[in-house]
């Protein structure tokens, strides 16, 4: 609990928060309000004429089956990314928690993928899975499977999911490991005396106690999959084939800067903004209510 310490009136506190306020204003409030305003405008592709159309952009958007397709793709994509990266990270963390010798080196190695930029990560996976050059697709064809994510929407989705999840595993791993290490050792010992084997202890004791971490990571991963995978998608599939990997955030870019439908693109951004605000609110509420064991 923070104590409210009262100082005399002074300009110093205001000066101290000023840089933060300026950064927020310039890099968030201003562009956000621009997007909000833009979403109510209809502009021709050459920027010659602008019309204030109230919510028509939103109406168009919500009645567009392509938008709903993109919505569904995003849900599937983010669910798969979150599930894959979190389950891998959890397994790795459970193992790492048992490692005693060389755990530092092991951990450092596992954290490296997080330092790789999304575009680089995407490029890496594209190389491996390139239908003509890739080592993995070569191996797959040797097994009798013809991999071509440039033609097959399902394979394209699988590839962007793998690339995005791979990058996020490191982050999730760190949090899971920290969560595991904060579980009192005596609880595990008590369970051992109660006769629970390692597997049983994990399911009955460790996972329930890890649930605050899991929930936090779920929100973080969904936000990641929603907004931060743009680079991966751009490099690996560019939203294709035939829009199979066209997630919402990629559609904003595609419609706005390629299709030059600025109003529609802005309206999509506004919807995304509302979604991320909602997610953040959920997370904060939960984190605050979270019980300390």
């Amino acid at each position: 609990m923070l104590k409210n310490v009262h100082f005399g009136p002074s300009v110093l506190p205001f000066l101290l928060v000023l840089p933060q306020i300026i950064v927020t204003l310039v890099f968030f409030i201003w562009p956000a309000s621009q997007a909000l305003y833009q979403s109510l405008l209809l502009e021709d592709a050459f920027g010659l004429k602008t019309e204030f159309v109230w919510f028509r952009n939103f109406e168009d958007l919500l009645s567009d089956p392509l938008y709903w397709d993109s919505f569904k793709i995003t849900i599937v994509f983010s669910f798969l990314v979150a599930f894959l990266s979190m389950s891998f990270a959890l397994i790795l963390a459970l193992f790492a928690d048992r490692v005693i010798k060389g755990s530092g080196a092991y951990r450092t190695l596992l954290i490296w993928p997080y330092a790789v930029a999304p575009v680089t990560a995407g490029a890496l996976w594209v190389f491996m899975f390139n239908p003509t050059l890739g080592i993995v697709s070569y191996a797959l064809s040797a097994l009798g499977y013809e991999w071509n994510h440039q033609l097959n929407g399902g394979e394209a989705m699988a590839l962007v999911v793998m690339a995005s999840a791979w990058k996020q595993v490191a982050y999730n791993f760190l949090f899971f490991l920290a969560g595991l290490q904060s579980i009192p050792k005596s609880l595990i010992e008590a369970a051992a005396i109660d006769g629970a084997g390692p597997m049983r202890r994990t399911i009955d004791i460790v996972l329930p106690l890890l649930s605050p971490t899991t929930f936090f990571l779920l929100v973080i991963n969904i936000v990641y999959a929603f907004f931060e995978t743009f680079g991966v998608i751009h490099v690996v599939t560019a939203g294709g084939p035939a829009g199979a990997t066209n997630i919402l955030v990629y559609k904003v870019f595609n419609d706005g800067f390629v299709g030059l439908d600025l109003g529609g693109s802005a309206a999509q951004s506004v919807i995304l903004m509302i979604m991320v605000i909602a997610l953040t609110v959920v997370q904060f509420k939960y984190v605050e209510k979270r019980v300390d064991y």
């Binding site: 010992e189 369970a191 051992a192 109660d194 006769g195 004791i205």
Partner: protein, 361 residues
């Protein structure tokens, strides 16, 4: 109920640190053995070795006639109460107590019966059984932790400083409850504590550990009356025993605290140690204030602590520098600077070898 036998138990950690240097003890059926010592003496390690939470480097451990060195904790037929209780925070009190039984694969009806029985013994209400551990007070959590141990109906109870997280008043109450419970159930128990009062009140026998060595094993009264070493003498009893450098005279009849009058050694003296430099130990309660007696020693008072029931007088014998504490009954009006005639009861002198720190005589 089972006999627990430790033979030559040693523990060496992978980094070469020797935590336990060979412990031999036979804990009888239904006995309450207390492991006591300062922090870092290896008492918790020894308990955890009995529990199976630490491996045994050397020696043999048997519970109920069965060698258990290489058995898992759950196979040793033990139950343990942890210092921080180690209750599963996400489970209700009922589930906490039932968890081990569920894993044993007991039928639901029997689990319920056993949990209800344990709850009744520990005076936990049905309403409390539905609560989560965090909704309970410290004393209630302590009861649940014991309940979890009781329901397993083990051969041996292991307690790892179970009262150290409670406040002083509750500690005294729970101490009595544990003693009563153990006496009623008659289950062999090993109890770890650093608190000598807890050790004295609970244990049938005490094992005093110091730096991984057994200093002494015996009943509380044996340890109090005949401490085997300087360490035990200083550790058992409160306020702690007074020590002073002293010399036994050539005939072994009297003992002299440096530069003071000679005190007679009771029971015919110690002729075999005649002329030896020793450490003399006297408990504060074995010094008495006398009016005028030929064998009284003058004590210079420096400080007085009034406890109501007793008065603790701190000072030193005459001009000697060794500190001395005297425990007098009731309220005494004594001031610093006074010189009191003090008599030492000759039957209550403890003489130790200054080199080996073991008891002489």
């Amino acid at each position: 109920m089972a006999r627990v036998v430790l033979e030559g138990i040693r523990k060496t950690y992978p980094n070469g640190f020797k935590a336990i240097h060979g412990v031999d003890v036979e804990i009888e059926e239904g006995e309450f053995l207390v492991l006591v010592g300062p922090s870092g003496c290896g008492k918790s390690t020894l308990l955890r070795m009995i529990a199976g939470l630490e491996s045994i480097t050397e020696g043999r451990l048997s519970i109920g006639g069965r060698d258990v060195n290489n058995l898992e904790p759950s196979e040793r037929d033990i139950a343990m109460v942890f210092q921080n209780y180690a209750l599963y925070p996400h489970m209700s009190v009922y589930k906490n107590m039932a968890y081990g039984l569920k894993i044993m694969g007991l039928p639901k009806a029997e689990i319920e019966e056993r949990v209800k029985k344990a709850a009744a013994i520990l005076e936990l209400t049905d309403e409390q059984l539905t609560r989560k551990p965090r909704q309970l007070s410290g004393g209630q959590r302590q009861r649940v932790a014991m309940g979890r141990a009781i329901v397993r109906e083990p051969s041996v109870f292991l307690f790892d400083e179970p009262l150290s997280n409670l406040d002083a008043k509750l500690r005294v109450q729970m101490r009595l409850e544990i003693k009563t419970l153990q006496a009623n159930l008659g289950i062999t128990s090993v109890y770890v504590t650093h608190d000598q009062v807890e050790a004295m009140t609970l244990g049938h026998r005490l094992m005093v550990l110091n730096a991984g060595n057994v200093e002494q094993l015996g009943t509380p009264i044996e340890l109090y009356q005949r401490p085997a070493s300087l360490f035990v003498a200083g550790f058992i009893g409160s306020p702690a025993m007074n020590f002073a450098d002293a010399k036994i005279d050539a005939e072994g009849k009297n003992i002299t605290i440096s530069g003071q009058e000679a005190l007679p050694l009771g029971d015919g003296g110690m002729p075999e140690h005649g002329g030896k430099d020793v450490i003399l130990g006297i408990r504060p309660e074995h010094l008495e204030l006398v009016v005028e007696a030929p064998d009284a020693v003058p004590m210079t008072v420096t400080m007085v602590e009034q406890l109501g029931a007793d008065t603790l007088v701190h000072g030193h014998f005459g001009e000697s520098r060794s500190d001395l504490t005297v425990r007098l009954d009731g309220i005494r009006h004594i001031k610093g600077g006074e010189v009191l005639p003090i008599r030492v009861a000759p039957d209550h002198l403890h003489v130790f070898d200054p080199k080996t720190e073991r008891r002489l005589s």
